[in-house]
C-alpha cells in the first residue's frame, strides 16, 4: 500500500488568540480534488499556506508521500504549484515574460506552450502588453495560465475563480477535473459551487474559537 500524497496529522493553528483549527487530520491521495470549506476568517487561506510551507505558525505534522515535508523539501517544492491571493505577476513585465520567469524557477513547468496557454486563458493579443495595463480579471488569468503549463502533481489553489467570468470558471473547472483524472491532486478554496463531482472531498473548517474560553454572547 503506497503512502498518501499528503497526510496531515493533528494540525493545530491559532491566530490572534483564536484557535483556527485543532486536531485536524486528513490524508490526500493522488487523483483527488479537495475543497476547503468554511466561513470567512475560518482559516482556509492559513491552512493552504501551511500546506505550501509558506507559513510555519502551526503545530502538528505534515507528510509528503509518507515522509515529513521538512525532510523532502526539494521534492515537495518541485511538485507544488501554489496559487495564492496575490497573483504573483509583475506589473511591469508582459504576460509572456511573467510566465517565462515562472517556468524558469519552477522545474515542473513547461517552457514551450506559453503562447498556447495565454491563448487558452483568452489573452491572445496581450502577450506584449505590460501587465499593469491589464484588468484585474486579466491579471488573474495570466496567473491561471500557469495551470496549463504545469506538470506539478499537486496544485494548491486559493480562491482561483475570483474575478474570473463564468466561462472562464467552467474552463478552469474542466482543467482541474482533467488534472485529477491524470492522477494529479488539487486542494482549493472557493465560494463557487464546484461543478466537479468525481473524487471531490471536503475539509470543513468550523468557526474559530476564542482561546480564552470566555462567553461572548
Amino acid at each position: 500500500m503506497s503512502a498518501p500524497l499528503i497526510e496531515v496529522r493533528d494540525l493545530y493553528c491559532e491566530r490572534d488568540e483564536r484557535i483556527l483549527f485543532e486536531g485536524l487530520n486528513f490524508s490526500v491521495n493522488a487523483g483527488e480534488v479537495w475543497q476547503v470549506e468554511g466561513p470567512n476568517g475560518s482559516g482556509k487561506t492559513t491552512l493552504l499556506r501551511i500546506l505550501s510551507s509558506l507559513s510555519r505558525a502551526f503545530e502538528g505534522e505534515i507528510f509528503w508521500r509518507g515522509e515529513s515535508v521538512d525532510h523532502v523539501r526539494d521534492d515537495f517544492m518541485s511538485s507544488l504549484l501554489y496559487f495564492g491571493h496575490l497573483p504573483g505577476i509583475k506589473a511591469t513585465l508582459t504576460p509572456q515574460e511573467n510566465l517565462r520567469w515562472y517556468s524558469a524557477i519552477h522545474p515542473m513547468t513547461r517552457h514551450e506552450g506559453i503562447d498556447d496557454a495565454l491563448h487558452r486563458v483568452g489573452l491572445l493579443g496581450y502577450e506584449d502588453v505590460p501587465c499593469h495595463a491589464l484588468s484585474a480579471g486579466q491579471k488573474r488569468r495570466v496567473s491561471l495560465a500557469r495551470l496549463y503549463l504545469s506538470d506539478a502533481p499537486l496544485w494548491i489553489l486559493d480562491e482561483p475563480f475570483t474575478a474570473i467570468d463564468k466561462g472562464g470558471v467552467a474552463e478552469k473547472e474542466a482543467l482541474i477535473a482533467a488534472h485529477a483524472a491524470k492522477g494529479g491532486t488539487v486542494i482549493l478554496t472557493t465560494h463557487h459551487e464546484l461543478g466537479i463531482r468525481d473524487n471531490l472531498r471536503k475539509v470543513v473548517l468550523g468557526g474559530a474559537k476564542e482561546l480564552t474560553g470566555g462567553k461572548f454572547d
Binding site: A30, L54, R56, A57, K90, I105, H106, P130
Partner: protein
C-alpha cells in the same frame, strides 16, 4: 510511486536537469535588471540623493577648499551610505506586494541563491553607479588627487557590503507597513565598520600611507557578508512572508 508515474505528459525531469543553479541565478539577475530598466525613474533617485547630500556640505558648512579637502572622503562615503540605505526599502517591497516573493519561496530553487541575484542587481543599479560618480564629487569637494583611486577602490569593495547588509534589514521589515525608518535603525550600526575602513583608506592615501590593509579588511568584510548575508536574508524573507 514515482513522480513520472503520477503525471504523464511533458518532460519535467529533463527540463529540471537543464536548470542548473547558475542558469537560475542568471535568469533571476536578468529579470531584476529588466524590472529596473522598465522603471528608470526609480534608478535615478539614489544618484540624485547622493549628489544632493554631498552638495549640501559646501553650502551648509564652508566652501573653503582647505576644509572641504579634509572632509571630502567622509562626506562622499556618508552620502553613498545614505543613498544605499534610501534605496534599500524598495528592494523586496514590490515582490512582496504582488506575490512574486511567495512564488520564489514555493519554488524548489535555493532562496539564498535567488537573494544573491537580487542583491547583485541592486548593487549594479545603485552601488556601482555611486562608485562611478564618486570621483566627480571628490573633485567638487577638493579631494586631493592621491585619494581618488583609494576612494573608488574602497567604494567598489564597500558598497556591495552595504547592499548585502541592507538587504537583511529590508527582508526583515518588508512585511511592515512603514519599514523605512526601522531599516535605518537596524542596519546603520552594521554599516559603521564599513564606513570607518572606507574613509580610513582614503585618508591614508591622501597622507601618502599604504592602503592595502584597509582594502584587505573591506574585502574580508565583503567576503564574510557574501557568504553569510544571503542565508540571513532568505531566513528574514521567510519570516516576513510567514506572517
Amino acid at each position: 510511486m514515482t513522480k513520472e508515474a503520477v503525471v504523464q505528459g511533458g518532460e519535467p525531469q529533463e527540463s529540471s536537469a537543464e536548470l542548473s543553479l547558475s542558469r537560475v541565478f542568471l535568469i533571476a539577475l536578468r529579470r531584476d535588471l529588466l524590472l529596473a530598466y522598465r522603471r528608470r525613474s526609480d534608478l535615478v533617485n539614489p544618484l540624485v540623493f547622493f549628489i544632493m547630500v554631498a552638495t549640501l556640505f559646501p553650502l551648509g558648512v564652508s566652501p573653503e577648499p582647505v576644509f572641504l579637502s579634509e572632509v571630502a572622503a567622509g562626506v562622499v562615503w556618508v552620502a553613498a551610505l545614505l543613498a544605499t540605505l534610501l534605496s534599500m526599502d524598495s528592494l523586496f517591497r514590490s515582490d512582496f506586494d504582488d506575490g512574486t516573493l511567495e512564488q520564489l519561496l514555493v519554488s524548489p530553487q535555493p532562496m539564498a541563491l535567488l537573494v544573491v541575484a537580487k542583491v547583485c542587481s541592486h548593487w549594479l543599479i545603485s552601488g556601482f553607479p555611486l562608485t562611478v560618480l564618486a570621483p566627480l564629487l571628490g573633485v567638487m569637494l577638493f579631494l586631493p588627487s592621491e585619494g581618488m583611486t583609494a576612494l573608488v577602490l574602497s567604494l567598489l569593495l564597500g558598497t556591495p557590503t552595504l547592499s548585502l547588509i541592507g538587504a537583511i534589514g529590508a527582508g526583515l521589515t518588508v512585511g511592515l507597513r512603514k519599514g523605512g525608518v526601522l531599516i535605518t535603525v537596524l542596519v546603520m550600526p552594521l554599516y559603521i565598520p564599513v564606513l570607518i575602513f572606507g574613509t580610513g583608506a582614503v585618508q591614508a592615501a591622501v597622507a601618502g600611507l599604504p592602503i592595502g590593509g584597509y582594502l584587505a579588511i573591506l574585502g574580508a568584510i565583503l567576503a564574510l557578508g557574501f557568504v553569510l548575508a544571503p542565508l540571513a536574508i532568505a531566513a528574514a524573507l521567510r519570516i516576513s512572508v510567514s506572517n
